[in-house]
């Protein structure tokens, strides 16, 4: 076993909770998908609103925890020293995990409250993606600040800063700060959604993208030995492109919420540029891998890095572009098109990042000096997840096209038009496919769990070929 810094031990804590919550995300996603097929399933006990909320919130939290794990993992190798506040870091992990547990229990058993401020503080804020009650919001910001302190203090103590760390420090500040925009109540739904997107879009399409840029840069240096100069040059270019297109690309969420018309043009223009940084990432990954003739000590991590590059490009870039122009979005907004895009984008951009990072950590622990980290099972999980994700995304895309057509274009978007579209076989049958592929995805997750638990434990005879 390789020597572990305290910082890396904290990383392992975050990774373990993350991977468990990944399971929870899939479990509640399966129930929600099944409720589309059989709406009476758990009707009145665990309604769709709750299963779907758990599906999404488990995802947000596990991805965030995986990212935090990645930050703690790379910190010692970037700074050359251990984290300054190890105890504080562990405490923050414990508090975050406990808070998540409490929130989930409240969601499962209390579910809803009366229409008053108390509900917003202690049960749910009832705003999609950021349903967490306000006490938990404050906790999340506190935990982010502790992580920020740990990174900043460690960098200061080490007395040197790398490009990766510099970008990380700026990005983490933005990440913690933006979350505050989602923590107030206003009756004006236009203002509500205006700020809500500051959290939802500027997190996911800006600060999270830059954060995975940092994590992927580190991953490429570790897995392929890409020179720092190249990684950092690309990272800056990506920051320019991600922030340059993503900040005003926010406008694509401001088409229909009551905001002025200039957002149609601004949002349409910048969001159609948003795939650019993702193309850059592909070039980056393919180039690096080609230079190294695919030789690496960590095969699963390398392949998850590929998946990240391509998944991010297709899911966030291509699938996002499909319905980002206002002329199309007027009809496709709020249909299964968005769900199709969301599934592929989150899987490609963020799930792949976290899994790659976990494999990098496992290599350090189980095979620090070779043999290469490899197994048959990681391939099964990898292929299983890709195939079933493509299946789910394809199913939702067909449903989304048909819904756009029948409910919005032919129909007039009313209650009855919604039902007519949902009953149409082009919409209702894909829900079956989605569920079926969801089951395969869950099984692949179990294989992934098995592989994470066992890979590298048995010494295999495989050897690293000289590059």
């Amino acid at each position: 076993m390789g020597k572990l810094y305290e910082s890396q031990k904290i990383a392992l804590l975050y990774f373990s909770v993350a991977i468990v919550l990944f399971g929870a995300q899939l479990f509640f996603g399966l129930i929600a998908a099944y409720q589309y097929i059989n709406p009476d399933f758990l009707y009145g006990i665990l309604p769709f609103s709750v299963t779907r909320m758990l599906h999404i919130n488990a995802m947000v939290v596990w991805l965030l925890m995986g990212f935090i794990g990645g930050i703690y993992w790379l910190l010692p190798s970037e700074t050359g020293r251990d984290v300054v506040g190890a105890k504080l870091g562990k405490l923050a992990w414990f508090l975050l995990t406990a808070a998540v547990g409490i929130v989930v229990l409240v969601y499962l058993f209390k579910q809803i409250g009366k229409g008053d401020i108390f509900t917003l503080w202690f049960i749910t804020e009832g705003r999609e993606y950021i349903e967490a009650p306000r006490w938990a919001d404050l906790g999340i910001v506190a935990v982010m600040l502790i992580i920020y302190f740990n990174v900043a203090a460690t960098v200061l103590k080490a007395g040197k800063i790398t490009g990766l760390l510099g970008v990380l420090l700026v990005d983490l500040l933005a990440l913690a700060g933006l979350y505050v925009a989602g923590m107030f109540f206003t009756p004006n739904i236009t203002h509500d959604q205006f700020w809500w997107w500051w959290v939802v879009h500027l997190w996911v399409e800006a600060t999270w993208e830059v954060l995975v840029g940092v994590l992927m840069g580190y991953a490429l240096m570790t897995v392929l030995g890409t020179p720092r100069r190249i990684v950092e040059g690309w990272l800056y270019l990506e920051v320019l492109l991600v922030f340059g297109t993503g900040i005003l690309g926010l406008g694509h969420h401001y088409y229909w919420i009551g905001t002025p018309e200039y957002w149609l043009g601004i949002g349409g223009f910048f969001s159609s540029l948003e795939p650019l940084p993702l193309v850059a990432m592909i070039v980056h990954a393919v180039y690096d891998a080609g230079v190294h003739k695919l030789q690496t000590v960590n095969r699963p991590a390398l392949f998850w890095i590929f998946l990240q590059a391509f998944g991010n490009f297709f899911g966030a870039g291509v699938w996002g572009f499909m319905h980002t122009l206002p002329q199309i979005n007027l009809y496709s907004h709020g249909t299964q098109m968005s769900a199709s895009h969301g599934h592929l984008a989150f899987f490609g951009a963020y799930v792949a990042t976290n899994v790659a990072l976990i494999y990098i950590a496992l290599q350090h622990i189980r095979a620090p000096e070779g043999p290469i980290l490899d197994s048959k099972t990681w391939k099964v999980a990898y292929i299983g997840m890709i195939v079933s994700m493509v299946g789910m995304v394809g199913a939702l895309l067909v449903a989304g096209f048909a819904q756009t057509f029948f409910e919005r274009a032919v129909g007039g978007a009313t209650w009855q038009d919604f039902i007519t579209a949902q009953m149409h076989p082009w919409v209702s049958v894909p829900y079956l496919w989605r569920f079926g592929f969801g089951v395969i995805f869950f099984l692949s997750y179990l294989v992934l769990l098995y592989d994470l638990a066992t890979i590298g434990k048995k010494v295999t005879v495989a050897e690293v070929k000289p590059a």
């Binding site: 409720q35 009476d40 009145g44 309604p47 609103s49 779907r52 909320m53 579910q111 809803i112 229409g115 401020i117 509900t119 917003l120 009832g126 705003r127 999609e128 490009g163 009756p187 004006n188 739904i189 236009t190 203002h191 959604q193 205006f194 800056y236 920051v239 320019l240 922030f243 340059g244 900040i247 005003l248 969420h253 401001y254 229909w256 919420i257 009551g258 905001t259 002025p260 018309e261 200039y262 957002w263 149609l264 043009g265 601004i266 223009f269 007027l330 907004h333 709020g334 249909t335 968005s338 769900a339 032919v410 129909g411 007039g412 978007a413 009313t414 209650w415 009855q416 038009d417 919604f418």
Partner: protein, 226 residues
């Protein structure tokens, strides 16, 4: 402030280009520092533009503007018609139409709408429905729900109510009692006051100018509810 989207786009790109070029004079584009400086200037320019647009948008969409009307609009009849000048559907405020047979003062209406929004959040409506198109896709979009022809044509007779708002209150309080479709809304235990507040909120929301979304709501020439 009045400006078009094209000015904003050109100005933000130009500033990034000019600022970046000045800051990176003499540097090779293969040098990471070149991109670092461009990244900083690009992010700053975009963020400054976002702040300017944010202030402008917030002032143009505060309560009582022509995009987000005054709460007393719930005392009026609201329509959704094709605006020939704009080329898309916009809400139109027509004559008086008291809600629940009552004309609300501005304070009363505001209090009612605050309550309505709190109820909508406390019952997590957005995890099944979409509001202004945002939310989940398990149940219909509620952006113009107040104007939905289904209330008049099906729900009033089904609930035995006299008015649209009364039918909505009855449905909201006991959605499980009325057969609408296989995907039924669960009973979210709304009190009568809470249900009324939600109805008022839906009426207010239908008066927000959403740049033509959803297009031709309730106005399809191909689908008519009989």
């Amino acid at each position: 402030m009045d400006f078009g989207w094209l000015e904003v786009v050109i100005a933000s790109l130009l500033l990034t280009l000019v600022g970046g070029t000045i800051l990176t004079r003499g540097r090779s584009w293969l040098d990471p520092v070149f991109w670092k400086r461009f990244a900083i200037i690009g992010s700053l320019v975009m963020f400054v533009f976002l702040w300017i647009l944010t202030f402008d948008t917030l002032s143009k969409t505060s309560v009582g503007t022509d995009r987000v009307p005054n709460p007393t609009v719930i005392n009026k009849r609201i329509g959704y018609e094709l605006n020939a000048e704009k080329g898309y559907f916009t809400p139109v405020i027509l004559g008086d139409e008291p809600l629940f047979g009552k004309t609300y003062s501005e304070e009363e209406a505001t209090a009612l709408l605050v309550k309505g929004k709190l109820v909508i959040q406390s019952r997590n409506c957005m995890d099944c429905h979409t509001l202004l198109g945002n939310g989940a896709y398990y149940a219909p979009d509620l952006t113009k729900a107040w104007l939905d022809p289904k209330w008049e044509k099906i729900m009033i007779p089904m609930t035995g109510a006299k008015t649209r708002e009364e039918a909505m209150v009855r449905f909201l309080m006991h959605p499980d009692r009325y057969a609408t479709w296989t995907r039924r809304m669960p009973n979210l235990h709304l009190s009568e006051d809470e249900a009324k507040a939600v109805v008022a909120y839906l009426k207010w929301m239908s008066a927000i100018n959403t740049n033509g979304f959803p297009d031709h709501f309730g106005n399809s020439k191909l689908v008519q509810l009989d």
